[in-house]
């Protein structure tokens, strides 16, 4: 790669290359955020329970 235009254009395969990388980014993001949110929910639920409050 020598220029930004060339980088975006991907030799005419921009659609295939960038869609692949977009799916990759989405799947990685899901794999990061889903477990973190889940962990927070679980901790909150367990904390409520151990404080003796109704679920």
């Amino acid at each position: 790669m020598t220029s930004f235009h060339e980088f975006i254009h991907m030799g005419g395969f921009a659609f295939y290359v960038w869609t692949s990388y977009a799916i990759f980014a989405l799947i990685f993001a899901w794999n990061v955020f889903q477990p973190l949110f889940h962990q927070r929910r679980v901790r909150e639920r367990l904390a409520r329970r151990s404080r003796g409050m109704p679920r």
Partner: protein, 263 residues
């Protein structure tokens, strides 16, 4: 003949003894939770660095392929995702086997948490393969051996997740899903050798083959960096998920109550 002193064979060397002690401690949920908590940031930052280097190398630095132009750049996510989808499955079945035979709780936890990550790697492999197939083969999908067996791998992961979550009792759920995972292992060599055993559109092995990899170093290095990044990413998220699972399973023990109420 050399005379064997009494007890000479039975005493393990100190390194094996320490290794065994480590595995015994690792099987304790609390120790696992704490060790995993310490490892996650290191693995996470390692993943970020490797991904940055791999993406720079693959998308910018590496030259275009003489046959495929820039379309080949999909390789830097397609191949690591495909390798990981197999690796995670074998790990899941192995952990399931350990849980089945030795009834180690942590092994059940690892097997269960492998499944969603492995499924997402299999899904990514199929999506990127499809997007690579269109410009190269002229079609998004063909029912050939490599593609079909990889699709079956995704279904095995989904079946595992469905079975595991359908059974209320944790021990029974772990047993049933581990058996499913072990039966599914038969698919792994089929995927791996499908390009040799059947006539297929999918290209044959490029990296692991006799006579060394037939790929230029400028392309091989980013590919290996991305593979390592995927591997670290997997272990990071495996530990994060496993920690949550340990908290849920050990909810009634004192240390968990202490941990969840302290923050």
């Amino acid at each position: 003949m050399k005379r064997v002193q009494r007890g000479e064979v039975a005493i393990p060397t100190s390194i094996t003894r320490r290794l065994w002690a480590f595995f015994h401690r690792l099987a304790s949920p609390r120790y696992f939770y704490e060790l995993a908590g310490k490892l996650v940031p290191w693995l996470g930052w390692g993943t970020v660095l490797l991904l940055a280097a791999g993406l720079y190398g693959g998308l910018w630095f590496a030259p275009a392929d003489y046959q495929q132009g820039d379309a080949y750049r999909i390789i830097f996510i397609h191949v690591p995702a495909a390798w990981m989808s197999l690796f995670v499955y074998v790990l899941m079945a192995g952990a399931g086997f350990i849980g089945l035979v030795w009834r180690i709780k942590i092994a059940d936890v690892v097997a269960k948490t492998c499944a969603p990550i492995g499924a997402s790697f299999a899904f990514l492999t199929l999506c990127t393969g499809s997007l690579w197939g269109k410009p190269m083969w002229g079609t998004y999908w063909v029912w050939d051996a490599r593609l079909t067996s990889e699709l079956i791998l995704l279904f095995l992961y989904l079946g595992y997740i469905a079975l595991e979550s359908a059974i209320e009792d944790r021990r029974t759920a772990a047993r049933a899903s581990s058996v499913l995972a072990l039966v599914g292992v038969v698919n792994i060599p089929i995927i791996h050798y499908s390009v040799d055993w059947w006539h297929t559109l999918h290209q044959g092995p490029t990296v692991f083959k006799l006579g060394g990899p037939s790929i230029s170093l400028d392309m091989l290095v980013p590919l290996l960096l991305m593979t390592l990044a995927f591997k670290l990413f997997f272990f990071t998220m495996l530990l994060v998920r496993a920690r949550t699972e340990v908290l849920e399973r050990e909810a009634n023990s004192a240390w968990v109550r202490e941990t969840v109420t302290s923050q």
